[in-house]
Symmetry: C2
Subunit: 322 residues, 2 copies
C-alpha cells in the first residue's frame, strides 16, 4: 500500500483533517498540550480517517462533516489505545514509550478521556444528522464492552468462535463501520451506498483484526512488533481456535491457557500446538473470506479511484507484515 | 438535608430515572453486568440527578429528556470516579472496595469507559436540542482537563488561586452546571431561567468542592472519610491558599509540598501551618460567598417547593460533615 499516494489523493481534505485534529486537541494546560502534540507527531497508519475520507469520496461529495468524522474516528482510536496501554501494562506504543510509561497510568487514563471528549465534541458539532451521534456512541460502548468481554474470557479460557468474532467486531470492526458509514452519510450517499459502506467496513475491520491475531503467531519480531503476546495474556484468537477444531487435545490446551500465568513455558507449547495443527493457514483462509466479502460489498458503488483504493487497502491487509 | 424527602418529592421522575440507568447499563457481558449492578446498589448521594430534576421542576415541566439528562449526569460522574480511583490509586469508594481494587486498574478504566459511553448514548437519544450535546461534551473535556491541570500543578507546588478555581470549576462545577442547565432546557425553561440555572449550579459546584477541600483538613475521620489526603498528594487547595496569603513563609511551605514525597512528616507540618494561619476559617468565609451567590441566582425563578429545596441543598453543603 502506498500510503503517501492515498494521502496526496485525499488532499485537500486530509490536510484540513489533520489541522482540525491539532486545533481540537490544543489545550492551555501545558502538560496536556505537549503530550497531545507529541502523540500527533507519531500517529501511525491513520487507517480510520483514510477509510472515512475514501468512502466519503466514493459515495458522494465530502463536506465539513466528513472532515470532522474522519478526525473524530482517529481521535477516538487513540483514546482507546491510551486506555489499552493501561489495561495491558504496555510500555511502548508505535516504537516509542507509551503515555503510560512516560507519565503514569493516571495521566494515560485522563489524557485518553480528553481525546475521547474531543472526539465527542467534534461529532456533536456536526450538522443535525439524526443517527450520527447514536452510531458514534454505540461504537464507544462496543469498544469498552469488547475489551471487557475479552478480559473476562482470558481468565476462563473458554472463548468460543462466537465470542471471538463478537470481541473483534466490538474492539475493531465497530469503529471501522462507524467511520465508513459516517463518511458515506456526510457525503450525501444514498441508503444503498451507506449499506455498502457498512458491510465493507465491518468485514474489513474483522479482517484487519484477524490479520493482527495471525501476526501475533507468525509475525517477524525484527520489524518492531512483538509476537506471542496473546497467548501470554490468555487471549484465545482465531489461529488457536482453528487449531483446536481438528484436535483431540482441546481440554488439555485450554487447561494450559488457564494455568499459563504459573507456567510461562506453556506459551511456547501452545504456540507449537497452533503451528502443528495448521492454525495459521486455516485462519488465513478465514481471513480471505472476510476480505472477499469486503470487496463484494463495494460492488454497488460507482467506479472511482477511491473505490479502487478501498479494495487495495483491504487486500493489502492480507499481506502486511506489521 | 432530608434526602428521602427530596427523592419522594421527585417521584415519579426519580423512579423512572433510576430504572433508565439500570436499563442503559445492563450488558450481556456477565462481568460487566454484575459490576454495574453492584455499583448501582451503592450509589452514594446522587446529588447530580437530584439537582437536575429539581431544577427541571423549578423551571417548567420535566419530560423524557429530563429523565435522560439526570441519569446521564450520574453515569458520567460515576465514570469519572472509576477513572479517578485509577489516577489516585484509591482502594475504597463509598466505604467499599473500589472497582480498581476488586478487578484491577484495566477493568476500572474500561468499565468507566462503558459508563461514559452509555451517558453519551442517553444524551444522544434526546430530542434534537442543538446545544445539548455540545454542553455535555464540553463538560467531558472540562473533567479531564481539570484533573490533568491538578496533576500537573501537584508536582510544582505553584498552584495559584486562579489555577485552583479553574481546577475545581472543571472537575466539579462544570458537571453541576451541565446537569442543571440540561434540566432547565428539557423542562422548557425560558432563557432567563436557563441563565439562573447556570449561575446557581456553577456557584453551588464550586461551593461543594471547597467544602470537600475544607473537610480534607477539618473532617471527622470516624465518619468514614479520610483526612489529610490532599497535602499528601501535593494538592494545594483553598485552606492552604488562604493560609499562605497572610504568611511570610510562602516559599518555605511551597518547598515542603514539593518535597513531601521524600518527607512524609511535612504533611502534619503543612496542616499545622494551615490551622495556625486560620486557613480553614478563611476558606469557610469564601465558601459562604459562593453559597450566597448560588442562592441569589435563583431569584428569577418562580416560588416552588423545588426552588426551596435547591436553596436547602446548597445551604446544607456548608454544614455537611462528610
Amino acid at each position: 500500500m502506498d500510503r503517501r499516494r492515498i494521502i496526496s489523493l485525499l488532499d485537500p481534505e486530509w490536510t484540513r483533517m489533520t489541522g482540525l485534529m491539532r486545533q481540537s486537541l490544543s489545550s492551555c494546560v501545558p502538560l496536556l498540550d505537549k503530550t497531545n502534540c507529541s502523540i500527533m507527531d507519531n500517529m501511525g497508519k491513520m487507517l480510520r480517517p483514510m477509510l472515512s475520507l475514501l468512502m466519503a469520496r466514493a459515495c458522494g461529495k465530502p463536506d465539513e462533516d466528513s472532515i470532522r468524522f474522519a478526525a473524530a474516528s482517529e481521535m477516538l482510536h487513540n483514546a482507546t489505545l491510551m486506555h489499552d496501554d493501561v489495561t495491558d501494562g504496555s510500555l511502548e506504543r508505535r516504537g516509542r514509550p507509551s503515555v503510560m510509561s512516560l507519565l503514569g497510568s493516571g495521566a494515560a487514563v485522563l489524557i485518553g478521556d480528553f481525546w475521547l471528549s474531543k472526539a465527542v465534541e467534534l461529532i456533536s458539532s456536526s450538522g443535525n444528522r439524526d443517527d450520527v451521534m447514536k452510531l458514534f456512541s454505540k461504537t464507544l460502548s462496543d469498544l469498552a464492552e469488547g475489551e471487557i468481554l475479552q478480559m473476562e474470557k482470558a481468565g476462563t479460557a473458554d472463548t468460543s468462535e462466537e465470542d471471538y468474532l463478537r470481541i473483534i467486531y466490538c474492539k475493531t470492526a465497530s469503529l471501522f463501520e462507524a467511520t465508513c458509514v459516517l463518511g458515506a452519510i456526510s457525503a450525501g450517499g444514498c441508503p444503498k451506498y451507506i449499506d455498502a459502506a457498512r458491510s465493507y467496513a465491518a468485514n474489513a475491520g474483522i479482517a484487519f483484526q484477524i490479520k493482527d491475531d495471525i501476526l501475533d503467531y507468525a509475525g517477524d519480531e525484527s520489524l518492531g512488533k512483538p509476537v506471542g503476546v496473546d497467548v501470554a495474556e490468555q487471549k484465545i484468537t482465531l489461529p488457536l481456535l482453528e487449531a483446536l477444531k481438528s484436535s483431540d487435545r482441546v481440554e488439555e490446551v485450554r487447561g494450559m491457557i488457564r494455568d499459563i500465568r504459573n507456567h510461562p513455558d506453556y506459551c511456547s507449547e501452545v504456540r507449537r500446538f497452533v503451528y502443528d495443527n495448521h492454525g495459521i493457514e486455516k485462519a488465513a483462509v478465514r481471513l480471505d473470506g472476510f476480505i472477499s466479502r469486503a470487496e463484494e460489498a463495494l460492488v454497488p458503488l460507482p467506479a472511482s479511484v477511491e473505490k479502487d483504493m478501498l479494495v487495495e487497502l483491504v487486500r493489502y491487509n492480507a499481506f502486511r507484515r506489521v
